[in-house]
C-alpha cells in the first residue's frame, strides 16, 4: 500500500471557484436585469455592476476548468474525477479528452464556451448588452449549479468534479489509511482514445453555446418590446451556430464511421438524433430570420423557431444525461442523479420563454399581405417548414422513452420500443424531405429579384433544368441506377448544385463575392445528399455468401461474413484475401508487432519480444527487450487484399479491442479509401484459444534431443536446447526452486520463424508445466519432462483448428462526395456569417443596435 500526499488545496480552490461562479452569475443576472428595467439615465451603474459580476463569473469558470485540468494533468488520483477518467498511460491530448469524458467536465466545457461568448457579446454590443446578458447569466447559473456539489439536508445540488475518492467511495482501505492514493487511474475509455474525442465534444458544446445567443436576443427583444431589431445582431450568430453544430454533427458521424462499428456514419441513434433535431430547427430559424430582414414577414415564426432551437438543445441534454434513454442508445451518459435538476432547467426556460412570448404576442407586428408564390421569401418559408417537419419526424420516435416515462408516472403502462430497423424507418421519410430541400434550395435562388413572373421564371430555369437532366442521365448510365427514389434524389441533388452554381457564378461576375454564402452552402448540402444516396443506397456487402445456419435448418441462408483462416487465401468480391497475422501497436515502432512474438509480463503495458524486430532494415528492438504498449487492449489483424484483375495489393488492419470498461469487445474497421469508394472491413469475431469452446486434440508426447527436427501441427520445428531461468513472472523463487525453458524454433510461412518457450518449474517441491499456447500454429505445447542424462525433453503437443477470423467487408461508393459537400457547406456558412456580421456592425456603429 502506498501512502502519498493528498492534495486537498487544489480541490478546495476548484470547488470555491465553482461556488464563486454560481453566486456571481446570479448577481450578474440581477444587476443586468435591473439595468434592463431602468431607463437610459438610471442604468449605467447597474450595467457596470452587471459587467463586473459577469467578468467575475466568467473568470471563475475558466479558473474552474484550469483547476480540473491540472488535477487530471498531474495525475492526482486522490480525486474521483481524475481516478475514474484518467490514467498515467495517456498522452497530453488524451488528458484533454479526459476532461470532458465525464458529465461534470462536459457541463464545464459548455459553461466555458458560454462565458467566452458572453465576453464577446459584452464587447460587441451596446444597446442589447443588459437584457441579453441577463438571459446569459441566468443560463450560466443553471449550468454552474450542475457542478455545484452542495448538499443541503437531503437535497443534493449538482455533482462536483472536485470530490476526493475517499469521500465518494466507502472502501475499507480509507479507514485504515485515509491518505491512500491509488497508483493509477482507471483511465479514459479505450474506445474514446481517438483524436475525434479531443475535438468533437468541444465543437458540439460550442454549437450548443451558440444557440444561446439568438435565444437571448429574442427574449431580450420580447421583454423590451423591441420586436424587430433583435434579429440583426442575432442572425450572424445563428449562422455561426449552424456551421459549428453542423460540423460537429458530421465530425461525430465520421468518428462513428471510422471507429465505432455501426456499419455506417449515421445510425439514427437517439444521441445523434438529439442533436440533429435542434440543428434542423436552427437552420429553419436562420432562413425565417433572413426572410424577416428582407421584407419584415415571418417574425412570429422566427421567434418560435429561435426559442424552439434552444429548448431542443436543453431537451437533448436532458435525454442524453438523465439516463432516460436506457437501453435505446449505445452512448448515453450514466445517470449522476441530476435528472431532476436537468428537468427543472428544461422546464424553467420552456415555461419562462412561453410566458414572455405570450405576454406580448398580440402586440407583435404582422403583415397582412400574402407572400406571392413568385417571391423568394415564399419559397424560403416553405423550405423552413420542410426543415421543421424533418425535425418533427425524428423527434417523435426519439421521444418514446420520455413518453413511456410520462405514462408510467401517471400509473399507466407503456413499452414503446424504437423501430427495429431504425435506418430504414427514418430514411424513408428523410429522403423525401431531402429531395424537397434540394428542389427548394435550387428553385428559391431564381427568385433573387423581387419581380418574377411565370415567363421570366421559365426562361431562368430552362438552362439549369436541362443541364441537370443531362448530367443526371449521364450518371444513371455510368453508375447503373434503377431505383426510382434514388433517381429522384440524384436529379434533385444535381439540379440544386447546377442552379446554385449558376447563381454563384452570376454573383461572382458582378463582384458580389460577399453574397455567395447561401449558394455555396446549398451546393454543399446538395452534394451531401447525393453522397449519402450513393454511399448508403448503394452500400454493398461484398463478403456475402450462403451457408446453412444450423443443423435444424436445411435451406441455405445468406450470410454477410466470410471466415478466413490464418495464411489460407480466400476469394471475395474480386479480391483474394489473406489473413496474415495478429499484431499489437508498440510505442516507437512503426507498424505492428506480431502477437506470437511477445511474452506477457505482470503489467499488460510491457511485453518482452522473442525475436529481433526489424522494420524496413532498421532494428527497433532485440530479442529479450521489453517493449512498451500504450494500448495493449487493441489487436490489429493484418489482412492482405490482392485484386484478382490487376494483381495490385493493399493491406488493411481492422482492430478488435477488449474493452473492460464497457465489458465488451469493440471492433473497429479499417478503411481503404479510393477516389470513387471506400472499402470498409471489420473483424466480426476472432478465435480465442483461451476460450472454453476451443477443442484440442489429444496430447501427443514426443521425446526430442537437442538439435533434432520435428513437426508441430505440420510446421517444421527445431529444439535448440534448454535454458535455466533465474526468475519467472508472477513467482518468487526460493533457494530450492528451479525453472527451465526449452527453446523451440518453428518455421512458418514466408520464411519467418517463431519461438516457443515451454517451461518446467519446480516450486516448493511441486512441479508446474504451464502450457505454451500459440495461435499462429494453432498449437499448445507443454514441457512434460526433462531427461538430464542426454538433455532430451518430452514435449506434449496438442493442436486445434487453425487461427481464424470472421470478416465483413462493405463497399461504400462515392462517399467522398459527402465529405467534400460538408466542406463546401462549411465554407458557404462562413461566408454568410461574415456578411451578416458586417451588416450588424455597420448598423451598430450608426447607433442603431
Amino acid at each position: 500500500m502506498i501512502s502519498a500526499t493528498v492534495h486537498t488545496t487544489i480541490g478546495n480552490i476548484g470547488h470555491l471557484l465553482v461556488i464563486v461562479s454560481f453566486v456571481a452569475s446570479i448577481i450578474a443576472a440581477f444587476a443586468y436585469g435591473k439595468a434592463s428595467l431602468n431607463n437610459e439615465i438610471g442604468n449605467t451603474d447597474w450595467i457596470k455592476f452587471g459587467r463586473a459580476s459577469f467578468w467575475t463569473h466568467g473568470l471563475a469558470v475558466l479558473g474552474t476548468a484550469v483547476t480540473l485540468f491540472l488535477i487530471i494533468y498531474n495525475n492526482y488520483f486522490e480525486y474521483h474525477y481524475a481516478w475514474s477518467h484518467a490514467s498515467k498511460d495517456l498522452p497530453v491530448h488524451y488528458m484533454i479528452a479526459c476532461f470532458w469524458e465525464g458529465q461534470e467536465g462536459s457541463f464545464l466545457i459548455w459553461s466555458v464556451w458560454n462565458a467566452l461568448l458572453g465576453f464577446i457579446l459584452i464587447k460587441t454590443n451596446k444597446k442589447w448588452e443588459a437584457p441579453v446578458m441577463t438571459v446569459f447569466a441566468l443560463v450560466q447559473a443553471f449550468l454552474a449549479s450542475m457542478i455545484l456539489g452542495v448538499v443541503i439536508g437531503d437535497l443534493k445540488i449538482g455533482s462536483s468534479p472536485f470530490l476526493l475518492l475517499r469521500d465518494v467511495m466507502n472502501e475499507p482501505v480509507f479507514l485504515v489509511n485515509p491518505n491512500y492514493v491509488p497508483e493509477d487511474g482507471t483511465g479514459l475509455n479505450p474506445l474514446l482514445q481517438n483524436y475525434w474525442m479531443v475535438i468533437h465534444p468541444p465543437m458540439t458544446f460550442l454549437g450548443f453555446a451558440c444557440t444561446l445567443i439568438p435565444f437571448s436576443f429574442c427574449i431580450a427583444g420580447l421583454w423590451r418590446k423591441d420586436f424587430k431589431d433583435w434579429i440583426r445582431p442575432a442572425l450572424p450568430w445563428t449562422i455561426f451556430g449552424g456551421v459549428i453544430l453542423g460540423t460537429a454533427i458530421v465530425m461525430g458521424a465520421y468518428w462513428a464511421y471510422e471507429t465505432l462499428n455501426f456499419g455506417g456514419y449515421w445510425n439514427w441513434d437517439p444521441v445523434e438524433n438529439a442533436v440533429y433535431v435542434p440543428w434542423l430547427v436552427l437552420i429553419a430559424s436562420m432562413h425565417t430570420m433572413i426572410i424577416f430582414k428582407k421584407n419584415h414577414t415571418a417574425l412570429k415564426t422566427s421567434i418560435v423557431l429561435v426559442i424552439a432551437t434552444f429548448i431542443l438543445i436543453l431537451y437533448a441534454t436532458f435525454l442524453v444525461r438523465s439516463g432516460i434513454l436506457g437501453n435505446t442508445s449505445v452512448h448515453s451518459f450514466t445517470d449522476l442523479g441530476l435528472s431532476g435538476q436537468l428537468l427543472i432547467y428544461l422546464l424553467f426556460f420552456l415555461v419562462a420563454s412561453i410566458a414572455i412570448a405570450a405576454r406580448v404576442w398580440s402586440q407583435l407586428p404582422t403583415s397582412d399581405k400574402e407572400a406571392s408564390a413568385y417571391s423568394r421569401e415564399f419559397w424560403i418559408f416553405i423550405g423552413a417548414l420542410v426543415l421543421c417537419l424533418m425535425a418533427f419526424q425524428v423527434l417523435v420516435p426519439t421521444s418514446f422513452p420520455v413518453f413511456n416515462a410520462i405514462v408510467e408516472f401517471f400509473g399507466g403502462v407503456s413499452s414503446l420500443a424504437p423501430p427495429a430497423n431504425q435506418v430504414e424507418f427514418y430514411s424513408q421519410w428523410q429522403v423525401w424531405f431531402g429531395i424537397g430541400i434540394a428542389l427548394l434550395s435550387g428553385t428559391g435562388q431564381f427568385f433573387f429579384w423581387k419581380k418574377m413572373d411565370k415567363e421570366k421564371l421559365k426562361s431562368a430555369m430552362t438552362f439549369p433544368v436541362l443541364i441537370s437532366l443531362v448530367i443526371s442521365a449521364l450518371i444513371f448510365v455510368l453508375e447503373d441506377i434503377y431505383n426510382p427514389v434514388y433517381i429522384v434524389v440524384l436529379v434533385a441533388g444535381v439540379y440544386s448544385v447546377v442552379s446554385n452554381l449558376k447563381i454563384m457564378l452570376d454573383l461572382v461576375r458582378s463582384g458580389s463575392y460577399k453574397l455567395t454564402g447561401g449558394s455555396i452552402a446549398h451546393i454543399g448540402i446538395a452534394m451531401m445528399l447525393v453522397g449519402i444516396m450513393f454511399s448508403e443506397g448503394y452500400s454493398r456487402i461484398i463478403s456475402k455468401n450462403t451457408t446453412i445456419i444450423s443443423r435444424n435448418f436445411t435451406e441455405e441462408q445468406n450470410t454477410n461474413n466470410v471466415v478466413l483462416f490464418l495464411n489460407d487465401p480466400k476469394p471475395m468480391g474480386g479480391y483474394s484475401l489473406l489473413y496474415k497475422s495478429e499484431g499489437l501497436k508498440a510505442e516507437g515502432i512503426p507498424g505492428y508487432v506480431k502477437k506470437s512474438w511477445l511474452d506477457n509480463t505482470e503489467n499488460s503495458h510491457y511485453k518482452i519480444t522473442r525475436a529481433d524486430i526489424v522494420v524496413d532494415g532498421t532494428t527497433y528492438a532485440q530479442k529479450g527487450d521489453t517493449l512498451y504498449f500504450r494500448t495493449p487492449e487493441n489487436t490489429y489483424h493484418e489482412i492482405e487484399y490482392t485484386s484478382l484483375n490487376s494483381g495490385k495489393k493493399f493491406t488493411l488492419f481492422p482492430r478488435t479491442q477488449v474493452n473492460d470498461e464497457m465489458g465488451q469487445t469493440i471492433v473497429s474497421p479499417d478503411i481503404k479509401k479510393q477516389w470513387n469508394r471506400d472499402l470498409y472491413t471489420y473483424v466480426a469475431l476472432q478465435s480465442d484459444f483461451d476460450d472454453e469452446n476451443t477443442v484440442w486434440s489429444e496430447k501427443d508426447i514426443h521425446t526430442i534431443r537437442p538439435g533434432e527436427r520435428f513437426f508441430i501441427n505440420d510446421y517444421v520445428a527445431v529444439f535448440q536446447g534448454l535454458e535455466r531461468l533465474p526468475r519467472v513472472n508472477y513467482l518468487t523463487m526460493g533457494p530450492n526452486d528451479a525453472a527451465v525453458k526449452a527453446n523451440i524454433e518453428v518455421f512458418v510461412e514466408e520464411g519467418e520463424k517463431l519461438y516457443l518457450e515451454p517451461k518446467f518449474i519446480i516450486k516448493d517441491k511441486n512441479v508446474g508445466r504451464p502450457p505454451e499456447v500459440n495461435q499462429e500454429i494453432a498449437s499448445r505445447v507443454t514441457l512434460e519432462n526433462i531427461n538430464p542424462e542426454d538433455g532430451s525433453i518430452e514435449l506434449g503437443i496438442e493442436t486445434t483448428q487453425k487461427d481464424w477470423i470472421i470478416l465483413q467487408a462493405i463497399e461504400k461508393p462515392q462517399i467522398n462526395i459527402l465529405w467534400i459537400g460538408t466542406i463546401v457547406m462549411i465554407i458557404g456558412f462562413i461566408v454568410a456569417t461574415r456578411r451578416r456580421y458586417i451588416e450588424f456592425a455597420k448598423m451598430r456603429d450608426k447607433g442603431m443596435a
Binding site: 467511495m169 400574402e370 419526424q393 424504437p418 423501430p419 427495429a420 435448418f553 465489458g663
Partner: protein
C-alpha cells in the same frame, strides 16, 4: 382559400401522417408467447424479446452452439415468464454473448422457430463499478 391556410393544412396532414407511420412502425418489448401469437397474426419480424441466456445451476451458460462454419449461432433464451426458446441468429456469435447479463433479440417466429436478425447485449460494465 388563402394560400397560407392551404400550406397550414398540408403541414398538418404531413405531421399526422408522420405520427401514424411512427405508431405503425414502433415495436414493443414482448415475451415469447406474445411473439408467437403475433406470428400467427402475420407479424413475424422486428419483435423485441428481452431475456437471459439459459444457465446451469452452477451459473454456467448452457445451450450456446455456434454452427460448424462459425458464421451463425443458436442459443437458448429464457424470457421474463421463464419460457425457454431456442433462438437462431444468422450472424457470427457476438463475442460477448457469454458474458452478457441481458439479451434483447430482435426478430420473429418462422415455422415455429425464433429467428433473430439482431441481438443487443447488455454487458456488466466496469465503468459503473464504484469499488477500487
Amino acid at each position: 382559400m388563402k394560400k397560407s391556410s392551404i400550406i397550414g393544412l398540408v403541414v398538418i396532414a404531413i405531421a399526422v401522417a408522420i405520427i401514424i407511420s411512427t405508431a405503425g412502425d414502433a415495436s414493443s418489448y414482448v415475451t415469447f408467447d406474445e411473439a408467437y401469437a403475433m406470428a400467427a397474426n402475420g407479424k413475424a419480424e422486428s419483435i423485441h424479446v428481452v431475456g437471459e441466456l439459459k444457465k446451469a445451476p452452477n451459473g454456467q451458460v448452457v445451450g450456446v452452439q455456434p454452427s460448424e462454419d462459425m458464421l451463425s449461432v443458436e442459443f437458448i433464451l429464457v424470457d421474463d415468464n421463464q419460457k425457454e426458446q431456442t433462438v437462431y441468429l444468422n450472424q457470427p456469435m457476438p463475442s460477448d454473448l457469454l458474458k452478457s447479463d441481458k439479451v434483447v433479440v430482435i426478430g420473429g417466429y418462422k415455422n415455429d422457430m425464433f429467428i433473430a436478425d439482431k441481438v443487443l447485449l447488455k454487458c456488466p460494465s466496469k465503468y459503473e463499478e464504484t469499488s477500487l
